[in-house]
Symmetry: C2
Subunit: 77 residues, 2 copies
């Protein structure tokens, strides 16, 4: 119900604004997703699929690990 709190954090917005002048809609089009998807991910509502993560990182010109960070706290309890 409450969703399962992904331990992934993304820095899409910061990088998008710092390194590109893409709007959310343009980024969405570039990566083949919808604007709504970008909004939800930027708002940390959920983590993207691996494929979408690759596309976003590639479009932003950064390695995946720069755009998405993983909090490696042990296995879920």
């Amino acid at each position: 119900m409450g969703g399962k709190k992904t331990r992934i954090t993304n820095h899409i917005r910061r990088i998008r604004l710092a390194r590109t002048d893409l709007t959310q809609a343009e980024l969405a089009r570039c990566v083949g997703a919808t604007r709504q998807t970008i909004i939800s991910i930027e708002g940390q509502k959920y983590a993207p699929s691996l494929e979408l993560a690759f596309r976003i990182a590639h479009t932003l010109g950064e390695p995946i690990e720069e755009v998405f960070t993983f909090d490696p706290s042990g296995l879920e309890i």
Copy 2:
């Protein structure tokens, strides 16, 4: 119906056998997934979530981009 052909390829099995002596079941336990999930991913049935991808790469001691490669052919048509 036939699923949407993810453009992600993974090298989990090769790396798992080369760099570790983990079984599929052990890897599954390490990353908090089931054996069935590891089997399906190793068999390229589907790509893992970004979070699971991070965990697998971390457990295998390789960066994500070594374990998973993305074929960046243009947007789907």
